[in-house]
C-alpha cells in the first residue's frame, strides 16, 4: 500500500520533472549561456556583450540575433549583467534608459521563466539566453559558462 502511494508520488514527481529542469552536473549557482542547437558560431566575450547591448544585430549567417534576458529582479540576471556587461542593476537600468532617449534602441526581451527560455531558444534560430547551470539543456547548445563570477567561453 505504502509502496503504491510512493509510486504515485514518484509518478507525479516524474510529471513535474519532465516539464521543468532536470538535474545537471553543474551547480545552480553557475550560469549557462545557450543558443539554438544548430548554431555552431564560436562566440567571444565581446560578441556576447555586444549582443546583450544590442550592438551586434546578426549572426555570421545573417540570422537576426534575438537576445533573451531574465527579469531584472532575478539573481540570474544580476549576475549575468555584472559579469558580461560589467554593470550593476542600476547601471543597466540607466544604460537602457539612456539608449532609448538617444533613439538608439530598446533592451532585449525579458523572459521570466527558465523553462520558457529553454523552449524559446530551442525553437528560435537566432536566440541566445542564459539559464541556471543545473537546468536541463537538452535541445540547446551551451556556448559559455559563468562560474564564480567569471565568464568562460567554450
Amino acid at each position: 500500500m505504502a509502496r503504491r502511494a510512493l509510486w504515485l508520488v514518484g509518478l507525479v514527481a516524474g510529471v513535474l520533472g519532465a516539464s521543468g529542469d532536470a538535474p545537471s552536473a553543474e551547480p545552480a549557482s553557475a550560469i549557462a549561456v545557450i543558443v539554438y542547437s544548430d548554431n555552431t558560431t564560436a562566440l567571444s566575450a565581446s560578441d556576447l556583450e555586444d549582443m546583450f547591448r544590442r550592438r551586434k544585430l546578426a549572426w555570421p549567417d545573417g540570422e537576426r540575433v534575438i537576445p533573451l534576458n531574465a527579469v531584472p529582479e532575478s539573481e540570474l540576471r544580476k549576475q549575468f549583467d555584472r559579469v558580461v556587461l560589467g554593470m550593476s542593476p542600476e547601471e543597466v537600468a540607466r544604460y537602457w534608459l539612456d539608449q532609448r532617449i538617444r533613439g538608439a534602441g530598446s533592451a532585449p526581451r525579458e523572459v521570466g521563466d527558465v523553462f520558457l527560455t529553454l523552449k524559446l531558444i530551442g525553437r528560435l534560430k537566432g536566440a541566445i539566453g542564459y539559464v541556471p547551470g543545473d537546468a536541463d539543456r537538452r535541445g540547446v547548445r551551451t556556448v559559455a559558462w559563468i562560474r564564480d563570477g567569471k565568464l568562460v567561453m567554450r
Binding site: A5, L11, V15, L16, K56, L97, L116, R123, L124
Partner: protein, 460 residues
Amino acid sequence: MRRCPTATIATIATIATSLAAGPALGEPAASESSAAPAPAPAPAGGLEARIAKLEAELAQLKAASDADLVSATTTSEAEASDKEPMFRLYGFIDMGVQKLWAADDVALPTTKTTFVLGNINLYFDFHPAAEWSSLVEARLTNAPSDDERPGIPQFGQPYARFDNTAPDPGNGDGYDAVRWGAIVLERAYIQWQRWAQLGVRVGQFLTPYGIWNVDHGTPTLISLFRPKAQSNQMFPEHQLGVEAFGRFDLPARWQLEWHGYVSNGRTPGTVALTENKMLGGRAVLSTTRPYAMAFGVSGMHGTYLDAQHNANAVTGAPERPAIVRYDEWAAGVDASLDLGPLRLRGEGALRHKDYRDGARDAWYPGVYVADGFEVDAYMLAAYRIPHTRFEPYLYSEYYYWPTPIGDRLLNASVGLNTYFTPAIQLKIELSRVDWLETTAVGGKASPDETFLAGKLVMGF
C-alpha cells in the same frame, strides 16, 4: 480554451498529496468523525479499478499539462520572437524652478524667480516589420507663449506679445478660454537596419555630432544647462534629409561608429531654397573595457539662404531676392570617459560663416554680422558618491563669438544630481557667465549673468 499549466500541475500535486496522505490502499479509510459510520471494506477488485482510474486521470492531466505548456510557450514565443513589439511609447519630462541674476535688458524674458515647464518629450517607436522602424519624438510645449517683441515707444514701435488664447466653448459653461500650445517635432524618421554595419534613416533626425546632441534628453545629460555650441546651434540641432550609419568591430574590443548625411541643412522654413545641400558626418571610436570611453569627430558643410518670394507688380514675374546667404562649415571633437563613479566629458566645436555681401544677418538695424569663426569648448566632471544618491559635478566652458557686447565668455557651473531611481532625478545647477572685454550696449552696463535652476527629471 487554454488552461493554466500551473493550475494543472497543482491539481496533479493535490491528487498525489491526497493519495499519499489518504488511506492506505486495501485498508479501510479512517472515519472523519467517530459519529460517522465506518465505511465498508472495499473489495480488492474495486481498489485495483480505483488505482487504474486514478492512473488514467493522471495520464490525462499530464497530457493536458504538456499541451498547456506548449501552448503557453507558443504564446510567449510570439511575444519574444524576432519581431520587435509593433509599438512602444516612452520619453522624458522635466520641470522645476529657476532664477536669473542679471542686469535687465529687453531680450530677457524675466529676472524674477519662476517655475518652468522644461521638456515633455514623447517617443513613438514603431516596428511594423523586421529591419524597419520609425521613431517620432514630439515635444509638447506652451509655445508660442512668451513670444514677445520689445517695444521702443519713443520711436513709435509698440510692444507686442503673441496672444495664443482661444475660446474653449466646449468646456465649462461655454465662456472658458484656453491657451493653446504647439508641438515641436524633435525627430521623425523611417529607418531600415539589417546589419549593425549599415542602417539608413530618412526624415528629420538629430544631427549626429558631439555628446550633447546625441545624448539629447535631460535624464541622459549630466548637466542641466546647455553648452553654447548647442544653444547657439553651431551645428543645426535637427536635419531633414537622409542619414546612413553603422558600426564596425575593431580589435581589442574597440568599435568604430560612423554617420554620414545629406540634408536641406539650415532653412528658414522646412523646404530647401538652394540646391547646395548640407553634407556632414561623424565617426566615433569607443570601447566598454576596461572603462567605457568614446572619442568622436564631426563635421559639416552647407549653405544657408533666406529668400523672399515676391511677384513683380509690372511683369507679374516671381522674384526671389536673397535676404541672407552664407556658406558655412563646422568641425567638432569630443571625448567621454567613465572611470567607475567618475564621469568625464569634453567637447570642442569650430564653425565658420562666409556671407555674401548684401545678404548678411543683422545684430540690429545697421549693424551686421561679420564673416568669421565661432568657437566653443567645455569640460565636465561628475562624480557619483559611492553608496549614495548624489552626483556632484563641475562644468566649465569657453565660448568665442564676435558680438556687439563682446567676443568671449567664460562659464563656470557647479551642480548636483540626486538619483531617486535610475529614471528619476533632481538636477540643481548654479552657473556664472562672465563676458570678457565687454562693451556696454543698450544701456546695459554688464552682460554677466548668474543662473540657478532646479529641475525634477523623469525618464519613462
